[in-house]
């Protein structure tokens, strides 16, 4: 009986945590919403805290941009690596790779940030930018995207390997016995059957990339820009919160604005998760 109460209690606390975070953020962000409309907050580029004008578009744009960039760079790599490791490579290679992936996932994000500053930023400034006939300080959306991609890889790769391992060997045998080549079997069975899992892994990667703070903050330049050029700097939402948290009490409504940024992050990640859940639910029926 007592155990039952403990279990139920634990469950309710777990369920309450996201609700409490959401309510808390909304409560703190509410004063800003009284002064400025939601549309103007989301779609304005005017950021003048001293005048009480808060337009989040450049931050939202930078966040979405680096996330997409990180996804484009990491998703195909993870998918092909997971297919190779589980379907074509030797067991020894997989046994070697699994702890390597775990180590990569365990590295603190600040280390990735330092690595980004020391390696990726100079690489973008000295090698990538001249390739396109332009100059860049290196502190750019591209550097942010690359660092984020590297950070997402262990999570996505680990999950994809798990997904491909769960596909029954009988299904592979069925496909091969009908005359499929190994690659056709991978295409028709592994990818198709694992599709909900692949989407799930990608969703996890995107959510991680969208919310990642410190490593991106260190390499992305932190200047407000709405630009399609990946060689220019940007200023994602998490970086905005982290950089300005210390001074938020000194300017009126600034704390509300930063809480609104946090609420925005929270809602976007919630929506990404719900969207992927829905998508998985739909594809699992096939």
């Amino acid at each position: 009986m007592l155990v039952n109460i403990w279990m139920r209690g634990g469950l309710y606390i777990l369920l309450a945590i996201p609700v409490l975070i959401g309510v808390g953020l909304y409560w703190k962000a509410a004063p800003l919403l009284q002064h400025q409309s939601l549309i103007s907050l989301l779609f304005s580029s005017k950021w003048f805290p001293m005048k009480g004008e808060f337009g989040f578009l450049p931050f939202i744009f930078s966040s979405v941009y680096v996330t997409i960039l990180a996804f484009i760079l990491s998703a195909p790599l993870c998918l092909f690596a997971a297919i190779y490791l589980t379907q074509f490579g030797k067991q020894r290679l997989l046994n070697f790779m699994l702890p390597v992936i775990d180590i990569l996932a365990g590295i603190p994000s600040v280390v990735y940030g330092v690595w980004g500053v020391l390696v990726i930023v100079p690489l973008v400034a000295d090698k990538v930018a001249p390739l396109f006939g332009t100059t860049s300080s290196g502190y750019s959306l591209l550097a942010g995207g690359i660092v984020l991609a590297v950070m997402c890889i262990p999570y996505m790769l680990n999950m994809l390997i798990e997904v491909f391992h769960t596909i029954p060997v009988g299904m592979k045998e069925a496909s091969l016995s009908l005359g499929a080549t190994h690659w056709e079997m991978v295409k028709h069975v592994i990818i198709r059957k694992g599709f909900p899992g692949i989407i799930s892994a990608f969703g996890l990667g995107i959510a991680k990339a969208f919310g990642e703070t410190i490593a991106v903050l260190m390499v992305v330049g932190n200047t407000m820009n709405i630009t399609l050029s990946p060689l220019k700097s940007g200023y994602p939402l998490p970086a905005l919160i982290a950089n300005n948290y210390g001074e938020m009490m000194s300017i009126p409504d600034y704390d509300s604005a930063l809480m609104f940024a946090a609420l925005l992050l929270f809602v976007v990640i919630l929506i990404i998760n719900l969207f992927f859940r829905y998508f998985i639910h739909k594809t699992e029926k096939i």
Binding site: Q91, G170, M171, K172, E173, S175, L176, L178, G179
Partner: protein, 280 residues
């Protein structure tokens, strides 16, 4: 032990042979083995799974591989279409001659070779697609693109396994809407669609209810007119009902083989006698 088959001679039918010879050759060909296994060994780092298997599988017969769980029946079956390649820990050696070709030799076109053998597993493994696409899958792999041909084959083979009337109105539905018994028949239809010569069945009724089991067994009896069926089972009564030839295996070795009446009613070895007593 009864001699089941003559040595396979693929080039016997030449233009120069006389009418008399032709009849003789036709008789021989009818009884000639479709598969000949020579000195097949399968081992892992922990030991041997199959030990020196020598076996001739006669054409258009139901050959039952009988034996307790873990005796190597399934491994033997999977060796026949080289699905053992999927298991990296297995080391396979020996010869498996099908249509005069040793499929164990390197450089074989495995896809073409496997299409000669339909596989039916212990439980159905439908592909993640609709009922229609499951049956059409093998045909598309063969490069057949004509929708008319594919639709015709889907209908014919679903009728053949007695599933057409049950699914004809929902061919686009996912396979998960079918019962396990129906899924197993669908898997059989899927295998038949690629026109194999041999059906490899690995305890195909072990997950089925008695009615579905009976349907599958009756299908096998009909199908043996056109196909060679190699059936793995540990159910004695099923072996008696279906087998034209029984191969009894124990710990990776063939202990006895012959006509079911011969070996199941008058077993020669103590192991088989014990198995029959325990099994009954």
């Amino acid at each position: 032990m009864k001699q089941m088959a003559f040595t396979y001679q693929p080039n016997l039918l030449s233009e120069s042979v006389t009418m008399e010879n032709q009849t003789e050759v036709a008789e021989m060909k009818k009884d000639s083995p479709i598969i000949e296994i020579k000195n097949l060994n399968v081992k892992t780092s922990e030991g041997k799974i199959l030990k020196d298997i020598n076996l001739k599988i006669p054409k258009n017969k139901i050959v039952v591989l009988l034996g307790p769980s873990g005796c190597g029946k399934t491994t033997l079956l999977k060796s026949l279409n080289r699905l053992t390649d999927l298991y990296k820990e297995l080391k396979v050696s020996g010869q498996i001659i099908i249509d005069g070709q040793d499929i164990m030799k390197a450089g074989q076109n495995l896809a073409v070779m496997r299409q000669k053998m339909g596989l039916l597993s212990q439980r159905p493994f439908p592909l993640p697609a609709s009922i229609y696409k499951n049956v059409a899958y093998g045909l598309k792999l063969k490069g057949i693109r004509s929708k008319k041909l594919i639709s015709h084959s889907v209908e014919t083979n679903l009728k053949r396994v007695g599933l057409w009337n049950e699914v004809k109105d929902r061919l686009k539905s996912p396979v998960t809407s079918l019962s396990i018994g129906q899924q197993q028949r669908l898997c059989l239809a899927r295998g038949l669609a690629v026109k194999p010569a041999i059906i490899l069945a690995d305890e195909p009724t072990s997950a089925l209810d008695p009615i579905s089991t009976k349907i599958i067994e009756n299908l096998f009896k009909e199908l043996k007119q056109h196909y060679t069926i190699i059936l793995v089972t540990h159910v004695l009564r099923q072996a008696l009902r279906l087998a034209d030839h029984v191969v009894f295996m124990y710990y990776g070795e063939i202990i006895e083989q012959g006509h079911p009446d011969e070996i199941l009613k008058n077993p020669k070895t103590a192991i088989l006698k014990k198995y029959l007593v325990d099994g009954n």
